[in-house]
């Protein structure tokens, strides 16, 4: 301790008490938070649990898909992609929403947020950095799950249908980013991390189960027209994701009934882009709102 005065507090130019280093660049600050968040996430139990669970389920679905076709090397990736679609719609939003929900509320609850904000960084850097780090961790987790599944499929069936599988991976990453964005928004407006997680679970239930039922009920009760049903359906990022994956498997949206047929007929080749843009908007807009709200908060 006694060496402090002579060593640590003397500026590099030899003059005492003068700051010699400015704050980090905007991107540099984001990167610093992202690196830390990524490291913390991959070292955490939730990451390990979700990754193992997703990998086991993905490989399980792959095997089941293969057993259905007798592993004779045709359409392995395509069938598995279709099989994985429902798994992805259940598991990935849950992973992303809960991860995002803890991002800010957890720091606030632990009392670490005020300390981070007292550093030469802005609130925008902090929230974007945390988002980027968590997004990287989530994508890594998904890549492990899909990667192991793809390895199994390649070993048993060759590369048939790999494009559809690759598109599933890409759209799943987009869905994860969208749900993470919603999770971060929930985290910003929640004082406690338990509350944020509760809201995230409620949102997950709503998006996965309730919205479908609500849409069906609304279409019957209000005698909605097909274009209105389509409009309401793609507001839900899960539905946009599902339709986008089905379209990219070169399948017809006719399987979705008149609404699918209407979408195919009306939007034609633009349909995949519209659906992708909808999911992308869910990745951008909640994060933007979260950033604005966080920056305008009255206190940490």
């Amino acid at each position: 301790m006694t060496t402090l005065a002579s060593s640590a507090i003397t500026a590099s130019d030899g003059s005492p008490g003068r700051a010699t280093t400015p704050s980090r660049s905007f991107v540099g600050g984001i990167a610093a938070f992202a690196r830390r968040e990524f490291r913390d996430a991959i070292a955490s139990r939730w990451f390990l649990l979700y990754t193992v669970a997703f990998t086991v389920l993905a490989v399980g679905v792959s095997f089941l898909s293969l057993s259905g076709v007798g592993s004779h090397g045709f359409a392995g990736f395509g069938r598995t992609a279709a099989g994985l679609l429902n798994l992805v719609m259940l598991v990935v939003p849950l992973m992303a929403l809960t991860a995002g929900a803890g991002a800010i509320a957890g720091e606030r609850e632990r009392g670490t947020l005020i300390y981070l904000l007292a550093q030469p960084v802005s609130r925008t850097q902090l929230i974007l950095g945390k988002y980027a780090g968590l997004a990287a961790a989530l994508v890594c987790s998904l890549c492990i799950g899909f990667g192991v599944s793809a390895a199994v499929l390649a070993w048993r069936t060759g590369g048939v249908g790999i494009t559809a599988f690759a598109m599933l991976v890409a759209f799943t990453a987009m869905l994860a980013l969208a749900m993470l964005s919603v999770g971060v928004l929930i985290s910003v407006v929640s004082r406690r991390s338990a509350v944020a997680t509760g809201i995230a679970l409620f949102v997950w239930l709503t998006l996965v189960f309730v919205s479908d039922l609500g849409l069906m009920a609304s279409s019957i009760l209000f005698r909605l027209r097909v274009q209105e049903i389509f409009g309401l359906a793609i507001v839900n990022p899960m539905q946009s994701f599902k339709m986008a994956v089905i379209v990219n498997m070169n399948a017809s949206l006719d399987v979705l009934g008149p609404v699918g047929a209407y979408a195919s007929f009306t939007l034609g080749r633009a349909l995949p882009w519209v659906l992708a843009a909808t999911v992308a908007a869910w990745a951008v807009l909640p994060l933007l709102l979260a950033t604005v709200l966080f920056a305008r908060r009255n206190s940490p």
Binding site: M1, R35, T112, Q119
Partner: protein, 293 residues
């Protein structure tokens, strides 16, 4: 170094800081003194620009509200207790903050060595003692060699030895030309470190004074802790303040700074207000710099 103009901070209907203005020159040290809830921590957070407030504050000429990130680059902040992820290793924590403050790994190692934490790099934050955490916070604060150090009750969770180490370090920093702002509940710290004292009460500056004026005695000052009925503590604190005593309520009794030969004075004051003192405890001796006991 610091200019604060009419800083006001409200939480809903509660005014935590009201119209606080002061200036602090380079190399000076300022203590924020007041009871719990007086607004010390909130004022520090306003100065750091981590919460929204009315009024103006600048550090080194940099507006805290408009260019908070740049203003905070001039500040090293030491909280009451280091708040950091418990699972993180000390080296990793230092590397992260060094990254944020653009300090080199060599500088990080130097800062750790300076606070006596070399050799503990592999320890996790949760395994550090309170004193070590506080030293880590100080090491982080000094990473980029900022000209201003802001401390929020830096010794409140430390034992006597830990307090002594931190006070010693802060005196060294002051002698090296750093500007210090610190909140404290301890007269001995204020006397040892501060050139000026802002006495805050209910968010307002009650007095802008010096330690010698606040404790006007040429004899060593002692702190006595009075144990009272909990319901009367606020009344007692008000009565003692009106009688000119420096008082601090910390949840474990009422601490009053008194001259060594006038320890009974607060008891007499309270007796006049029909407030019973159940017990009295004499705390550490304190020294006024330049005055022999």
């Amino acid at each position: 170094m610091i200019t604060a103009t009419n800083i006001t901070k409200k939480f809903g209907r509660v005014t935590a800081v009201s119209g606080v203005s002061f200036e602090l020159a380079d190399g000076a040290s300022l203590a924020l003194w007041g009871s719990n809830g007086a607004g010390k921590t909130t004022l520090i957070r306003c100065l750091l620009g981590v919460c929204r407030f009315k009024g103006r504050a600048s550090i080194g000429g940099v507006d805290v509200r408009r260019r908070g990130r740049h203003a905070r680059a001039l500040v090293g902040y030491v909280p009451q207790e280091l708040a950091f992820h418990d699972d993180v290793r000390l080296a990793s924590a230092m590397a992260f903050f060094a990254g944020l403050r653009r300090a080199s790994p060599a500088r990080a190692a130097q800062s750790l060595a300076a606070v006596g934490l070399t050799g503990h790099e592999r320890k996790r934050v949760r395994d550090l003692s309170g004193g070590m955490k506080q030293r880590l916070a100080l090491a982080i604060a000094l990473l980029s060699d900022p000209p201003l150090i802001v401390l929020d009750e830096p010794t409140s969770n430390l034992d006597a030895a830990g307090r002594g180490e931190v006070v010693h370090t802060l005196r060294a920093l002051k002698q090296a030309g750093k500007t210090l702002i610190f909140a404290s509940h301890r007269p001995d710290e204020v006397i040892a470190l501060a050139d000026r004292v802002l006495v805050l009460e209910r968010g307002r500056i009650e007095r802008d004074t010096t330690p010698a004026e606040l404790w006007p005695t040429e004899k060593p000052v002692q702190v006595v802790r009075l144990h009272l009925a909990l319901a009367r503590e606020e009344d007692a604190a008000d009565a003692l303040r009106r009688a000119g005593h420096a008082v601090h309520l910390n949840g474990e009794g009422l601490c009053v700074a008194v001259a060594r030969d006038r320890k009974a004075e607060p008891i007499s004051t309270l007796a006049r207000h029909r407030i019973e003192v159940r017990d009295i405890e004499v705390l550490d001796d304190v020294q006024i710099p330049g005055v022999t006991s």
